[in-house]
């Protein structure tokens, strides 16, 4: 485990209030990339542009709508969109108690355990620190035109309550804001 992960864990244990952003995260770079597997694993602070440059060497791409490539992959994940969620295979996170946890895997098909890797897409930094993400990538030649996702605010009270309770599962001390 890298020093930065240890630092982040300690920081969470020591604080009562934390706002996560990618510059502060200071955790960047490609961890693994296997073009013949169509799988890339990236540290969450990495700029999308830097990822795309690596992928382009093998005529591959992140297969979701990218608003701006100047953003970190962790930020895109936290803001959430269904087409991004579709290609998430696994994540590592640090939860609100400082635990470093692994969900999903670096394979195309995986139904072991609840799909936490996709549940946290759209969590806006309020449930956990996402430290690394594995994605399915695609050859550029197979991509069709992608359009900006349509998003609707959640109005159901039950839905809102469930989201609130799920926050408590990952962040019982309520430190992420």
């Amino acid at each position: 485990m890298s020093n930065r992960i240890n630092q982040l864990q300690q920081l969470i244990k020591d604080t009562n209030n934390l706002h996560i952003n990618s510059e502060w995260l200071a955790y960047t770079g490609v961890i693994e990339y296997f073009p013949e597997e169509l799988i890339i694993t990236i540290k969450a602070g990495t700029k999308i542009n830097d990822i795309q440059i690596q992928l382009a060497k093998y005529n591959q791409t992140l297969p979701f709508f990218i608003k701006t490539a100047d953003m970190s992959i962790g930020a895109a994940y936290a803001q959430g969109a269904q087409d991004l969620s579709d290609c998430v295979l696994g994540v590592k996170i640090i939860d609100g108690t400082g635990e470093y946890l692994n969900f999903g895997a670096q394979v195309m098909k995986n139904v072991a355990g609840y799909d936490v890797a996709r549940l946290l897409v759209g969590s806006k930094g309020k449930l956990a620190i996402i430290t690394q993400i594995s994605f399915k990538v695609m050859p550029i030649s197979y991509m069709t035109q992608l359009s900006a996702p349509i998003k609707r605010a959640i109005t159901s009270q039950l839905h809102q309550q469930i989201e609130q309770k799920l926050k408590q599962v990952f962040d019982p001390r309520g430190i992420f804001n």
């Binding site: 296997f34 692994n102 670096q106 098909k109 139904v111 197979y142």
Partner: protein, 475 residues
């Protein structure tokens, strides 16, 4: 019992009780585990489902939701003192939106029935688990079912636009891909009936490809065949299907289906390409170049021949079933680069345990289905198979993969879950369940092992080297 009386009184004509009536529901596709429920209820509408939930909740009675019961991990196996909620009568395609390529269906609609209903519009529902003529869409969502075309067209989770679900309290929730929030829709996919009851599914439809052709290639070595799989992807091709079989599976399938598989091959690859005429031709040219080292090579020249090539692969399970009284089907998934190593390890274990193995798998996505042949009537053989199987699953996790690619955990892989997740991760799963089902009445005890189970297992593993399913009856 009070709960049975209340069900019989309030839901006349849709409740089955007694040994004989509930026997057809005592297991799912994993028939080695059986348990009769208190009662089976077959509701015809949502109001009746809500009534069942209320009665069960009031009486603290577990509810096991069931589609067609084709699952392979015991996910729909009844629990002792449970009520089975069978949704097979909710089988209507409610609406089809051709322009937006969507269909709204009830949970008991069969997978294949969706494609049949939309065929006239040049559309189909892409995920195609082998049980697609029988399995239901509700069950598919609960298991996040796969199939042979996942690499290109995705799993169930990729092809569901929205669901309507009920909580254990009978409250309705609509989850959509457009929700600006957490990924609750994805969470429900593959939740194995532990979080919700799915009452309606909006599925995405896919335009039917103009043309599909299959390349069949035989190889003199398993390693060559496995390497070629990586080479095809490296060449920038995403086949619609990419399946591999070993020599034992080839023999069994050929004897059963007589489709002309090369019996002298050590491994067989089936590679399907689909799209427009031009796309298929371009892909075919690249694939044939990659496959130039194959010992035999054939391309389907007609739709009839294409289906024939698939017939052997699709009948591989029953074909193997003919050679042995029982077989145990595994579902581990590994990074593709480890395929050849994994197959060698499985061969070694096969020799060690003196149990034959036929390997059939979705090579494109690294999803293995080794079939271990055994005879349940031989004393100790089931335990031997389970130990063998657990070793394969442990290997899958060690290689960076997973214990289950598409069949689910159910009751079958609870022990293996202890290898894939640590206590803290499992605790998160239990807390997620409690958000939706605080009294743990929906399919309790399945999919996620209790922490003490993993602790005991660790201890037992050290002392005896055996991995028994401590709480399960054996037949």
């Amino acid at each position: 019992m009070e709960v049975i009386q209340q069900l019989l009184k309030q839901l006349k004509g849709i409740v089955l009780t007694g040994k004989e009536n509930t026997r057809p529901f005592e297991c799912d596709g994993l028939s080695v585990y059986r348990q009769k429920p208190l009662a089976v209820v077959l509701p015809e509408n949502i109001a009746q489902i809500k009534q069942v939930l209320k009665i069960c909740k009031d009486n603290n009675t577990p509810v096991v939701t069931r589609g067609a019961g084709t699952g392979l991990a015991g996910g729909a196996m009844p629990l002792e003192n449970s009520v089975v909620l069978g949704l097979s009568k909710l089988n209507q395609v409610k609406s089809i939106d051709v322009e937006n390529q969507l269909a709204v269906v009830e949970p008991g609609v069969k997978n294949i029935a969706i494609s049949e209903a939309v065929r006239q519009h040049g559309l189909y529902y892409a995920p195609d688990p082998s049980s697609q003529i029988a399995c239901t869409i509700g069950g598919n969502v609960a298991e996040n079912s796969g199939g042979v075309h996942c690499l290109k067209y995705g799993l169930t989770v990729h092809n569901v636009e929205a669901i309507k679900m009920l909580t254990i309290d009978g409250d309705e929730l609509i989850l959509s891909r457009q929700d600006d929030g957490l990924g609750l829709l994805a969470l429900m996919n593959g939740s194995e009936g532990l979080l919700d009851i799915i009452t309606e599914v909006t599925v995405k439809l896919t335009p039917t490809p103009v043309l599909a052709r299959v390349v069949m290639a035989g190889f003199d070595s398993v390693r060559d065949c496995a390497n070629v799989v990586a080479d095809i992807i490296k060449a920038g091709i995403i086949p619609a299907g990419l399946e591999m079989m070993d020599s034992f599976a080839i023999e069994a399938a050929e004897e059963f289906a007589k489709v002309g598989y090369p019996l002298d091959a050590k491994a067989l690859l089936l590679c399907e390409l689909d799209g427009t005429q031009t796309q298929v031709q371009a892909e075919l040219d690249s694939v044939l170049e990659v496959l130039s080292g194959a010992s035999t090579l054939k391309v389907s020249e007609s739709e009839e021949e294409r289906l024939n090539f698939w017939k052997g692969r699709k009948s591989a399970f029953p074909a193997v079933g003919r050679l042995s009284p029982d077989y145990y089907c595994m579902d581990g998934t590994i990074p593709r680069r480890h395929l050849a190593d994994m197959l060698e390890k499985i061969n070694e274990l096969s020799k060690k345990y003196q149990l034959r193995v036929a390997n059939v798998f979705h090579a494109g996505d690294g999803n293995l289905h080794p079939l271990i042949l055994y005879d349940v009537n031989i004393e100790g053989e089931l335990e031997k198979v389970e130990e063998f199987g657990t070793k394969i699953l442990k290997l899958s996790v060690d290689m960076g993969g997973t214990i289950t690619g598409e069949h689910g955990v159910g009751v079958e892989k609870l022990n293996a879950m202890c290898h894939q997740f640590n206590a803290k991760e499992l605790a998160i799963f239990h807390k997620i369940k409690a958000v939706f089902d605080p009294k743990s009445l929906l399919n309790p005890g399945k999919a996620v092992p209790e922490l003490h189970r993993c602790a005991e297992l660790g201890a037992m593993h050290v002392h005896h080297g055996k991995l028994p399913h401590t709480k399960l009856e054996r037949f």
